[in-house]
């Protein structure tokens, strides 16, 4: 090897390690930002995180402030949203993947669903205000908010369910048909059980997104201070993100810490939802292999 060649190898190796470093930095960057954010929130919020904080109503005193109505409001909305969006979303995915003929109309629907997934959430809020709150006169209620949220996450559920259904091996499907089953029997007996982990993961991630949304709910009419807990779906409500936002804009500086405590609760619920998704996925995956 002459000198020139050695130099070329050297420069190539240098390039290699430079890019290695660069990409590593990219990876670390996100983690560092997250860690800083978490550190800041935990430092401010942890001392304020007490049982009282969970069970109290908001108050003008930072020390007495609690997140109870927001917590319950969020849970109400999430459960109703899931109940509304899950069957419709999975149904649509089954229709599109298994029943629909491959023609322009189906393509058109699929294209629209993909586009809807990218529509900003505030637009759904306006839609919810016009359709559910006003036209269907549900008022500024939990129900109207849940319908709006269901619309918001429907495209995500449909798309992830489609992916899950598409991943079912065609050998399994054909084996089922070979036994003389109808399409419906194959769908419920083979396709759905196999696709369920994927469907669930997609759904729970979509619901986590809905949990953190504030913009569409403000448009639909979420309140800032409620002295009560929604007892029926037609009651008024507030939610976690709205409570947090309100605290962060209060004049008293201690409310910043209350907001941080609220963020910890919200993060906790999100983490819980995501780990549920993982646990369910693992559980059902094992069952199929047996």
């Amino acid at each position: 090897m002459d000198n020139k060649e050695l130099q070329r190898i050297k420069s190539r190796k240098l390039k290699n390690s430079v890019f290695h470093g660069l990409i590593f930095f990219c990876t670390i960057f996100g983690v560092i930002v997250l860690a800083l954010l978490l550190y800041d929130i935990l430092k401010k919020g942890l001392p304020w995180l007490t049982i009282d904080f969970l069970t109290n109503f908001p108050s003008r005193f930072p020390k007495k402030s609690g997140i109870f109505p927001g917590l319950l409001g969020s849970l109400w909305i999430i459960l109703l949203t899931a109940a509304l969006a899950f069957p419709v979303g999975v149904g649509t995915a089954i229709y599109l993947e298994e029943y629909a003929k491959e023609n322009r109309f189906t393509e058109f629907i699929k294209l629209n669903i993909a586009n809807l997934a990218g529509v900003p959430s505030i637009i759904y809020g306006m839609l919810g205000l016009a359709v559910f709150v006003r036209a269907l006169s549900m008022g500024r209620s939990v129900l109207a908010a849940s319908f709006t949220m269901a619309l918001l996450i429907l495209p995500i559920i449909i798309i992830s369910s489609q992916e899950a259904i598409r991943s079912v091996p065609s050998a399994l499907k054909q084996a089922s048909f070979a036994l003389g089953t109808t399409k419906w029997q194959t769908v419920t007996g083979v396709i759905l059980p196999y696709a369920l982990p994927g469907i669930l993961t997609g759904t729970i991630l979509a619901i986590s997104r809905a949990l953190g949304e504030a913009a569409p709910l403000i448009v639909v009419g979420a309140l800032t201070y409620v002295s009560f807990i929604p007892k029926t779906p037609l009651d008024q409500f507030t939610t976690l993100p709205i409570q947090i936002f309100n605290w962060s804009s209060m004049p008293k500086r201690e409310f910043q810490n209350v907001a941080a405590a609220g963020i910890i609760i919200l993060l906790g619920i999100l983490l819980l939802a995501n780990s549920t998704a993982i646990i369910l996925r693992d559980k059902y995956q094992i069952k199929i292999k047996d």
Partner: protein
């Protein structure tokens, strides 16, 4: 599948049960719903009143929103809410809209608020400013780019401006009093509906200037500096006795007459005016003179 269904049902029942437990008040109290919306400036006062009123009447449902004075009036004039918090008087077109819908309203003053004009702590060159200078800085198409454009002895550094966004009653009031026309303002300033963002902006920039409610200044007096306007410092006294001009204003609530016929709303408004003096101070605003609260109470009798 059935496991899942059970899980879902259990959580639904749990939330429902929790809601029920939370709401089993025992004492004899007023019942019903009171719906309030409107200004986020007035919100802390209404929230404090609602909190205290709820203690005496645990079965009562009170809901307070913060859609802004204008946003709140939009709901108020169609009869969606009972009370609207307002950091300015009702506008003619809003009153006309209410009339169309047969909604009559009662205007009640509840507190004073001052608007503080603030600069950074390290700003050594300015402690006093005139309304004319403020206008020169904030008016539409203002030519002020550097501090030295206002007074030649001030530094030749760009002036960075922070102010509330357009939905805010504070914005309406400031533009009307300083620039002479509501909503008329230069466009190249940093706007935020969140006053704490404005505080942070001014606190972090030596060459910044901003304005917002006095309550936000008092809470952050260690980080920012409030300017005297025409030589008068913004304090509780100067706002109350009217010498801090023109940036002090009364805050209002508007009550729909029809709602006032309901005992829970009437009692709530009465409670509001009786307790306001004490609670207004607590949340950082300035109470009215006793006689003004009495005037309000006489109006609802």
């Amino acid at each position: 599948m059935s496991n899942l269904k059970r899980l879902f049902l259990i959580s639904l029942v749990a939330v429902f049960a929790l809601s029920m437990v939370a709401c089993s008040g025992k004492k004899a109290s007023l019942t019903g719903n009171i719906k309030v919306d409107g200004s986020s400036t007035v919100y802390p006062i209404t929230q404090a009143i609602a909190e205290e009123f709820k203690k005496a009447n645990p079965d009562l449902n009170i809901a307070v929103g913060t859609s802004g004075t204008g946003g709140g009036f939009k709901k108020f004039v169609v009869g969606e809410t009972d009370i609207n918090d307002a950091s300015r008087k009702v506008k003619d077109e809003e009153a006309a809209k209410a009339k169309e819908n047969n909604i009559e309203m009662l205007e009640l003053e509840v507190a004073y608020d001052g608007i503080a004009v603030v600069v950074n702590k390290d700003n050594t060159w300015v402690s006093d400013i005139t309304v004319e200078e403020l206008k020169k800085i904030w008016e539409p198409n203002s030519t002020v780019k550097l501090w030295s454009d206002v007074r030649p002895e001030w530094p030749k550094e760009p002036i960075k401006l922070y102010g509330p966004g357009t939905d805010s009653g504070t914005f309406d009031y400031f533009t009307e009093k300083v620039n002479g026309k509501e909503k008329a303002i230069r466009t190249d300033f940093t706007a935020s509906e969140d006053d704490n963002v404005l505080v942070q902006g001014v606190a972090g920039d030596k060459y910044a200037m901003g304005y917002f409610g006095l309550a936000y200044f008092e809470e952050n007096a260690d980080k920012i500096k409030a300017l005297k306007i025409n030589g008068v410092e913004p304090t509780v006294d100067t706002v109350k006795n009217g010498t801090y001009k023109p940036l002090s204003r009364p805050l209002y609530i508007y009550v729909a007459n029809k709602s006032l016929e309901r005992p829970e709303v009437k009692e709530f408004v009465k409670f509001y005016l009786e307790k306001a003096k004490e609670l207004v101070t607590e949340v950082g605003y300035i109470p009215l003179e006793d006689s003004k609260y009495q005037d309000g109470l006489n109006k609802i009798k």
